[in-house]
């Protein structure tokens, strides 16, 4: 009875094991591509360049894994950070000149609190737009999530099988110094290009996208 059980068990488990192996084909594909470009799972540039992060995004499929998660380079935030610092200093400077000497203290107090709260809101808004406007490269497709204003989200998908010419543009002193630029990917869909703007290491991004696309093409040719 035991032998019969064992035999049927091993025969029965071979199927699911094989299908599980087949199910995770993309992991081998991603491993191979990352090895070729000399990358390993990491989080760099304050989360602006994440290789194989253990994260999920909306509408992610079961056989899909994030290979790259990109944001604009952190240096692109310098402008608004300086504005925030200035607005934090400004009340002290203006009050120091004595312009509001005739205004009662309670109005000054509430006015300052309102000013700082608005500054906090501005900083939060800018951070949110930076942090959640992301470009994702998975083993199957490219996903561009952009936020243009309050409550306005635009999500663009492009299948890696349908992309044509990935290209990167790095120009100017600051961009060259901090190694960031734009990535443009031409697609065969209605929206002709999908772009990742001001992302770190654009050449590497293009390299990974090209290799993933190539590997998928090879798989398709083999009929897998």
């Amino acid at each position: 009875m035991v032998e019969v059980y064992d035999a049927s068990g091993s025969a029965g488990s071979a199927g699911p094991a094989k299908s599980a192996l087949k199910k995770e084909w993309w992991k081998e594909l991603v491993d191979g591509v990352l090895e070729k470009v000399g990358e390993e799972p990491r989080r760099a540039m304050l989360g602006a360049f994440c290789v194989r992060p253990d994260q999920k995004f909306m509408s992610q499929q079961e056989d899909e894994e994030i290979v790259l998660l990109l944001r604009a380079h952190p240096i692109t935030n310098v402008g608004w950070v300086l504005i925030v610092i200035l607005t934090l200093i400004l009340p002290g400077v203006i009050l120091g000149t004595g312009v509001f000497a005739a205004v009662p203290g309670k109005f000054i107090l509430v006015g300052k609190l309102v000013w700082y709260l608005v500054t906090l809101m501005y900083a939060m808004e800018r951070f949110l737009f930076w942090y959640y406007s992301i470009f994702i490269v998975t083993n199957e497709r490219l996903v561009d999530i952009d936020f243009y204003n309050l409550m306005h989200r635009v999500v663009t998908y492009a299948n890696l099988n349908h992309i044509e010419e990935p290209a990167s543009v790095v120009g100017g002193f600051i961009r060259s110094l901090f190694q960031y630029g734009n990535v443009w990917v031409t697609t065969a869909s209605e929206k002709p290009t999908i772009e990742a703007l001001r992302v770190p290491y654009p050449d590497k991004v293009v390299d990974i996208i090209s290799r993933l696309s190539e590997e998928l093409e090879k798989r398709r040719e083999r009929g897998e």
Partner: protein
């Protein structure tokens, strides 16, 4: 009699009284804006699963509470 009351009432209006209610009105609008930010954070955090999502949501709620507290403070103090 009513005319005298109205004149009496108008004469009691001060510049800082007007400023106070302008402050309060502006802050009430700001509270509405803070509610939108809470909603916006909800929309953003559902886009990607991240460790900081909870902190950002908390921050948005704290911001809303601060805005409400400021309305109360403006009515009470000014």
């Amino acid at each position: 009699m009513n005319q005298i009351n109205l004149i009496d009432l108008i004469s009691k209006i001060t510049l800082f009284g007007v400023v106070k209610w302008m402050f309060v009105g502006g802050l009430v609008m700001y509270v509405a804006f803070s509610v939108i930010i809470v909603k916006q954070v909800g929309v953003m955090t559902e886009a990607i699963e991240d460790d900081v999502n909870g902190i950002i949501s908390l921050f948005a709620w704290v911001h809303l509470l601060l805005a409400i507290a400021l309305v109360v403070l403006a009515i009470a103090v000014l």
